[in-house]
């Protein structure tokens, strides 16, 4: 019987959500292809995590080694190569995360197995793996076929598939670590967190989120005033932090913060999924973008297709008016 591998991603003792999302999708694919679903867990002292995974997959393949204590793509590469060579899984699913993108491409190249990255849909049509992924910052989707092979590797986008818990009672199989030599190319040193800033955007009721559409740093005071009118706080997409216009802790998205304010106003933000993942659960989302096709409009409750600079000032006046105050 063939297998579908899901590589469990964990950090600092926590299994990450992407793992459960992949296990859910993996289970569906396993049923359709008449395969077994196997969660693959690499780490040091991770028996507890293995127990958790056994509720989601029929089999848990566990490799423990001190060299696997923290994620190291070189160590993971060696162990996974050996497991894939031995088990020949039809499909190996890896998260399209910072860990996954450090691992999957070189692994696929070394094993000469085709890789499809950042997949948001996966299915087998006969023997052919058909995937859906996005291009041009989420403005278009493509359906693509993967070069025919016996075994495939994919990386899966975060939050592309919902996670469900089937309450299985899977079997945990421990395999000796194939790592005999030291890992020499790459060494994990430590985790670092950015220093905490003065404002906690996750605690704000109203966030005015600004994106590259605000164009110039000289426009910052104007949007800051709008945020003030709401009694809210300025948040932003990544380019604003990259340019240094706002500190890192104001960034919303996968590599920033996840927020859930009562109101999120997106000004000049296109709606790339990395941003959207951080704010889509806000109670009310209003987006202003001059491009009617901007992806943000499929996440917003209300949309305004207009130049944001024409909206900010009248909106600010309106808010003050409703609050019974002149500016």
């Amino acid at each position: 019987m063939t297998e579908i591998f899901v590589l469990a991603e964990h950090r600092q003792g926590q299994i990450r959500d992407i793992t459960f999302e992949m296990l859910t999708k993996g289970r569906e694919l396993a049923e359709k292809t008449n395969s077994d679903l196997t969660a693959v867990l690499l780490g040091k002292e991770v028996k507890e995590q293995a127990e958790t995974l056994s509720e989601y997959a029929k089999k848990v393949l566990l490799v423990e080694d001190a060299k696997l204590e923290n994620f190291n793509s070189e160590a993971y590469h060696k162990v996974l190569s050996s497991l894939i060579n031995e088990h020949k899984p039809l499909l190996t699913m890896i998260g399209h995360t910072s860990f996954g993108v450090d691992l999957a491409p070189s692994l696929a190249a070394a094993l000469k197995l085709p890789l499809a990255t950042d997949c948001i849909e996966l299915e087998f049509e006969g023997e052919t793996l058909v995937i859906t992924r996005q291009m041009y910052g989420g403005k278009v989707n493509v359906k693509a076929t993967v070069h025919k092979a016996e075994n495939y590797i994919v990386t899966v986008r975060q939050a592309a598939f919902p996670a469900q818990k089937p309450a299985l009672n899977g079997e945990i199989t421990e395999t000796p670590s194939p790592l005999s030599e030291e890992i020499t190319g790459k060494r994990f040193i430590k985790y670092v967190l950015p220093p905490p800033g003065g404002v906690d955007i996750t605690a704000a009721d109203v966030l005015v989120g600004i994106g590259r559409g605000i164009k110039d740093e000289s426009n910052m005071p104007m949007v800051e005033e709008l945020a003030n009118a709401f009694g809210g706080v300025l948040a932003c997409s990544r380019p604003i932090v990259d340019k240094g216009w706002l500190p890192t802790d104001r960034q919303v998205g996968t590599s920033g913060k996840t927020v859930k304010p009562k109101l999120y106003i997106a000004l000049g933000i296109s709606g790339a999924f990395q941003h959207v993942l951080g704010m889509k659960n806000s109670d009310l989302i209003i987006a202003v973008n001059k491009d009617s096709n901007a992806p943000i409009f499929s996440f917003a409750d209300y949309g305004v297709v207009e130049d944001l600079f024409k909206i900010v000032s009248p909106l600010k006046s309106k808010i003050y008016e409703l609050k019974g105050r002149k500016t």
Binding site: N70, A108, T145, T155, F188, P194, V241, D242, K290, D291
Partner: protein, 272 residues
């Protein structure tokens, strides 16, 4: 490769850059083939991530000494991106081009780059974390695997020690990890690692005089089957507009009317 001491060594750096269309603000149309977008009318420039990679390379050169070579796989149009790199401080520029390269995914691109780079002396290769058009996020680490050297992705900071680069990798949720990578290595650069410098028109004009070395399939030890669609893992079958799960309700009118309407919505929700 022997370990070396930083103070004794200049760093020869190769930066892989891609010439991509700016699409965030443009209206995108799917072309007649149904497998690609309509490119006419779009403005092309250096891939955003590669812009940061190039800047980082130039800063390393300015600090430690050495050379920067910018390399691209692309048609004539990509010369403008290479000129930009030269104007910014790259010493050499190489363009790999062939009609057979069309339809290459990140894997085929990595093979092409590998074939050209493997003979070049280098201590460090920088790529972008991803290309903003296709977003494969794979060419850099595959290139590293082919060169049999280490790699690290999503880099936000680079420092050097003897024979190693100490780098910050971006993880999710604002977290970073520090990793040490043996050189030579491939590092894929994340946006925000630096602030790319401004290039003047004059600088670009000066760079016009510099040579761009051009190589084709015949100059590389690859066959037709290694490149283009034939040599790729991914074959695009169909391109389409993403299905809309939920469409925003559009508010229309003059800016004042829009402001009034937003005010009403917010008030009705008890937010004022």
């Amino acid at each position: 490769m022997k370990a070396w001491r930083l103070e004794e060594k200049d760093l020869d750096i190769i930066v892989c850059v891609k010439h991509v269309p700016e699409t965030a603000e443009a209206e995108i149309k799917i072309d007649a083939s149904g497998r690609a977008i309509e490119k006419t009318g779009l403005v092309f420039d250096i891939n955003e991530w590669d812009d940061y990679a190039l800047e980082e390379a130039v800063r390393i050169k300015e600090k430690h000494g050495g050379t920067v070579t910018a390399i691209t796989v692309g048609s004539d149009d990509a010369n403008s991106t290479l000129r930009k790199c030269l104007a910014r401080g790259a010493d050499k520029a190489v363009r790999l081009t062939d009609v057979k390269f069309e339809g290459s995914d990140g894997y085929a691109i990595a093979k092409i780059l590998h074939s050209a780079i493997k003979g070049l002396p280098c201590d460090l290769i920088l790529t972008g974390a991803l290309a903003g058009d296709d977003g494969y996020t794979m060419a850099g680490p595959i290139l590293a695997e082919m060169l049999e050297i280490p790699h690290a992705t999503m880099i936000k900071k680079i420092e050097f020690g003897d024979g190693v680069a100490k780098v910050n990798r971006e993880l999710e949720g604002g977290l970073e990890e520090i990793v040490e990578v043996k050189l030579p290595a491939v590092l894929t650069v994340q946006t925000g690692i630096n602030e790319p410098r401004y290039v003047s028109i004059l600088g670009i004009r000066k760079a016009m005089k510099k040579e761009i070395k051009i190589l084709g399939l015949a100059d590389l030890d690859l066959s037709e089957n290694d490149v283009g669609e034939a040599g790729s893992w991914i074959k695009i079958e169909k391109m389409f507009v993403p299905p809309v799960e939920k469409q925003a309700e559009f508010i229309k009118g003059t800016p004042e009317e829009i402001a009034t309407k937003i005010g009403e919505i917010i008030k009705s929700r008890g937010l004022i």
